[in-house]
Symmetry: C2
């Protein structure tokens, strides 16, 4: 699976959260990081190029700061120009149909405020309806979003947990079965355990992979026992 990560931020260098997540993506061949302000500093979008990029990837993700409960001006411009009639909808063939679409939102306010009775009044699901409607129009699968609330107040461990969810959003199949999540984790570990890693570190990772696989065999055995019991 290949992923096109469309990032937009009016001042990305100054954004610690954006830098934290983006710097973790180096050497990930299956992810194309596409920073719009960097690509189009004067705001003129190459529509044909963007449409080709969309065709070449299986999953499209927007990553932006959730200012005023919506995307950045440049993402909106990108939507209006790239997702035009004749390409994105309005024809018999929809080039984006069947692909995944998801949102990664950097949010400055605490999660508890996003509900009735909270200061922001509405949930993230309610506020992102325009993107759900867009995915619907394009025939895309709308993924669970990844809202990152108040990154700067997070403890180190919470940041690391969020990073794992970030990688899952970008690379894990949209299938939350245990087997799928285990396969994904083993793949990630195998990528880290490349030959250039120090031997001791490599050993630890290989050990972790074996334990995950061992656990799975046990779960599979238990399942077979259970299946037999109910078949008899």
């Amino acid at each position: 699976m290949t992923t096109l990560l469309i990032v937009s931020h009016p001042d990305i260098i100054e954004s610690g959260s954006q830098q934290y997540f983006l710097s973790s993506l180096k050497d990930r061949e299956e992810i194309t990081v596409h920073h719009l302000e960097n690509q189009y500093p004067n705001g003129t979008i190459n529509v044909a190029k963007e449409q080709n990029l969309l065709r070449q990837h299986d999953r499209i993700i927007f990553q932006f700061p959730f200012y005023w409960y919506s995307a950045t001006p440049l993402i909106k411009k990108w939507q209006d120009e790239v997702l035009g009639e004749g390409f994105a909808y309005g024809t018999r063939k929809k080039p984006l149909a069947g692909k995944d679409f998801g949102l990664i939102l950097m949010i400055g306010v605490a999660e508890r405020e996003y509900q009735a009775g909270g200061e922001e009044l509405f949930t993230i699901s309610e506020l992102t309806k325009p993107f759900q409607a867009m995915a619907n129009k394009l025939g895309m699968n709308y993924l669970r979003p990844l809202p990152v609330f108040q990154f700067f107040y997070m403890e180190e461990e919470e940041k690391m947990n969020t990073l794992i969810r970030y990688w899952q959003m970008l690379t894990m199949d949209n299938d939350i079965t245990l087997a799928n999540r285990e396969n994904w984790l083993i793949e990630q570990l195998q990528q880290i355990a490349k030959p250039n890693l120090e031997a001791a570190d490599r050993e630890v990772i290989m050990f972790a992979i074996e334990r995950i696989q061992e656990n799975r065999f046990k779960i599979d055995e238990l399942k077979m026992v259970l299946d037999d019991m109910f078949l008899d």
Copy 2:
């Protein structure tokens, strides 16, 4: 009441619906028409000037084509830059609190598609949650929106009816009692019936005003009779 009408459209000259509504607003002193693309052709917004405009008006309206269920890129940029912390929120004093806020949306798809089961899946109320959340954050009164569906397919009479609703959105107090709507209508008629109008036309309008007032007296009389009956 004074109204600031913030209009944004990537190509307003070509938009028949925008031209139809805007051309009806000439000589309306209480309405400031503020076309963002015209004001800021290179996209650089004068934040202090915009904040002053906001302070000087009682009602703020956004008028834009509802592409991808959201505002234009320039309105989003305006929100991000003009409605900054320290001006719009985050201080003890909120300069926009108590003012009215409303949306006028030009929509190319039929109204019936905006519901569960329709092609657009969600209602206008659901899709405009980000603007409702904005009004909530700023302490503004969120008005019923005016969505104009498929203007070009409208019969002439429907266009005229929509125009009346447009003027109401811009100038009528947010109070839908019969008395208020009648007062508003009489005011509009009086504005048309200026001395430079032809005498015969002026006569017709004055006659209409008298009829409306006459009807109201009758309604008031009937109400008094009813009140008396229930008081006894």
